[in-house]
Amino acid sequence: MISTDPWIWLSALLSISCFSLLYGDNKAFRWAETTYTASVIGHSVVTGLVTLRDRFYPLYTGAQPQYIVPLILGILSIFIVWRKYAWLATISMALMIGVGTGISMRALIATDIIANTRAVIGETAGILKGSPADQLGNLIRVVFTIAALWYFVFTLIPKGPTAKPFSWIQTIGKYALIAYIGVAVGNTMQQFTGCATSAIYRIVGLWLGFG
């Protein structure tokens, strides 16, 4: 049975309007596009206002007076739109970027470099044990990891007798990257197929009442 919920009707009409782009550009798609853009911006503004309330509630109650510092920094960042005093915004921007970079670097070394290196060492040990499928999987991962790293680290190939082996490893590295991109693109296709199914199910199942 067709839904009587006005929100589901709106959702279905927006979905159909978005899908209509596949036939060609049209007014229905433009309506859906502008409605979506406006609602995202509207939602961000409302969320921003609610966030201000939540963040500075302890300052308002006096529980955490030190929150005056982020409040001042936040106000300074608004000066970015006023050319004469835009330099004031750089204070809060610099602090934000500095803190962000600092904490990212701290975790990045431990997680992305040390932990991943440890994982590759573990996989190297796994080449000689486990089922043949696991052994092959570990071998491919280790070879591809080393070759891909090699490709980026040794951007200049030395001349002489080592030139050929260097270029072979680089070529394997290129194939590793192509394989990675292929997997990533294939997975992205799956994601879009799934999202389309979700939207079509909303139209057919929730709106029209089939399925």
Partner: protein, 278 residues
């Protein structure tokens, strides 16, 4: 030689639409294999003691997070049945909406006949700006980072939040978002919290090395198929199953289009050769 008629893109979309409509109207029940990792996640959630606190948090875009929802919704049903507790911590503006959507869709609240009561069994926290810095602060001290829930109620008035002070109280961090790397870096890497992601398929290839880097600490399912696997373990048939049906049909269409495209290209090349000779 007879000319090949031009295949308009609209015809291809029409065929694709019909293939999408079939499982939406009449589920096919296409088979799919179960993943060991998905079973491990299910077993992990089953093994948690009652009243354990699970955090659902991270940042991303709602439209793409839909792919994480089948697994997340099934997991929420499992958590409610196991009497676990949930706190949401959105690090993106749309994540706050998404968390509420998952809880509503799982029908675990008492208003839908479920066992969970707001404030006692689950709490929705508001969007917290600051990205990684906010996450670190939250892990260190919940009270110093968040003071009100999403409805504007001070968190010290909510019974659940009286038991939740820092990362030490978190049993598992669930991240049904793209921004899983931050959770791995800070919640797992620095605090040792087990993290689980119902990852989107586009993110899976990028994030899966972290499962090798943190064995027994980081778990991921892969896209809608992972969601369908979790639905099967929990005993429901949701969006994950419908998408697996679509995958099966679209997987037939894509090779057919590739073959058709190649035949067209070869025939056109021959036509051009003939025209060039003339």
């Amino acid at each position: 030689m007879a000319k090949i008629p031009e295949l308009k893109s609209q015809y291809i979309w029409l065929v694709a639409l019909i293939l999408f409509l079939i499982p939406a109207v009449n589920p096919l029940g296409a088979p799919f294999a179960m993943s060991d990792v998905t079973v491990k996640i299910y077993d992990l959630m089953q093994s948690l003691p009652e009243k354990s606190i699970v955090v659902m948090g991270g940042a991303s875009v709602f439209a793409f997070d839909i792919e994480s929802s089948p697994g997340m919704i099934a997991c929420l049903k499992q958590m409610a049945a196991r009497h676990l507790r949930l706190v949401t911590f959105p690090l993106g503006t749309e994540a706050a909406q998404y968390h509420k959507f998952c809880i509503d869709a799982a029908r675990v609240d008492q208003k839908y006949g479920g066992p969970w009561k707001y404030g006692v069994d689950y709490v929705l926290l508001p969007y917290t700006p600051g990205g990684s810095a906010a996450l670190i602060s939250f892990l260190k001290s919940v009270e110093a980072t968040v003071t009100l829930d999403i409805n504007g109620v001070p968190i010290n008035q909510l019974p659940l939040m009286r038991d939740f002070h820092s990362y030490k109280d978190i049993a598992v961090w669930m991240c049904p978002h793209w921004g899983f790397i931050d959770i791995i870096r800070y919640a797992t890497g620095e605090c040792g919290v087990i993290s689980v992601s119902f990852a989107q398929s586009a993110a899976y290839a990028t994030f899966s090395p972290y499962m090798m880097a943190y064995p027994g600490k980081v778990y991921m399912t892969n896209g809608y198929v992972g969601g369908a696997q979790y639905e099967r373990l929990v005993g429901i048939k949701g969006l994950g199953h419908k998408v697996v049906d679509s995958y099966s049909l679209i997987s037939v269409l894509i090779p057919a289009l590739i073959i058709l495209g190649n035949i067209t290209m070869i025939v056109r090349m021959k036509e051009e050769e003939v025209e060039a000779k003339e």
